[in-house]
């Protein structure tokens, strides 16, 4: 297992929908609502629990959006921290199994 890896997964307590090119996410626990831009949507959709964040950034962000890898990683970590704080994403240093809906 790679060292110092961050794994992210979508929480089972959220609802998500894409409409007109934007991703809308809602936390069913507290009804907070988010609209994700393209980069955030790419990270969100790739959050399968077993792909390290740095691989998500490398394969889905840097290639697709032509951005500096270090900046992209920093931005992604900030974004993940924010969504994690709102219960949208789960974050761990080991692979996560995606939660099944309750």
């Amino acid at each position: 297992m790679p060292e110092n890896c961050t794994y992210i997964a979508r929480s089972s307590s959220i609802a998500a929908r894409a409409l007109a090119g934007e991703m809308m996410v809602m936390n069913s626990a507290d009804s907070t609502f988010f609209t994700l831009n393209e980069v955030a949507t790419a990270i969100f959709q790739a959050a399968d629990g077993h792909t390290p964040l740095r691989e998500i950034v490398r394969d889905h962000i840097c290639e697709q959006f032509d951005v500096d890898p270090d900046q992209a990683q920093a931005d992604a970590e900030q974004f993940v921290a924010e969504l994690s704080g709102h219960g949208i994403l789960l974050v761990s240093d080991h692979p996560l199994s995606l939660e099944t809906p309750r």
Partner: protein, 178 residues
Amino acid sequence: MRLNLVLAQRGGFLLHAASAICDGQAYLFSGVSGAGKTTMTRLAPPHITLLTDEISYLRPNADGYSAYGTPFAGELARSGKNCSAPVSALFFLEQGPENRVEELSSAEAVRRLMRNILFFAEDPVLVEKLLATACDFVSRVPIRRLTFYPDTRVWDEVQSFDRNFAAALHEEEVPEHA
């Protein structure tokens, strides 16, 4: 309030909005308390049919959505007529010095809609269904921001706004735990 749970399962919902039928079409006016929902119903032409000045009941039909009369009354203190009509448009209300109808982005429309839908459950499956319904509603019903000055001319704006969509809207589901 179990009614909203039953409606959510069937693709319908309760919306904090006034609604009225004019020339066979239902017009919805949504906003927080004090935004002007009851005012819009008071300013309406005399031949309109009031469905509610407080909480609207909406359900999908073959071509879009229909609004139904409800017993929920606001300041008007009277129940709506027990009838329905296809929804022509939903307006989010703001008061201002002049009447103006403006487009909203799909995301902003869904955000405002979700804020005004009456829903009291934390069941993720139902919340998913409700969000899907909101997105479906936004893709099928014209939604605008209506800034209005409280006189009867605002209804001319309501009935004559440009209902053309800026672009085709496509709804996609997030892959289930891809």
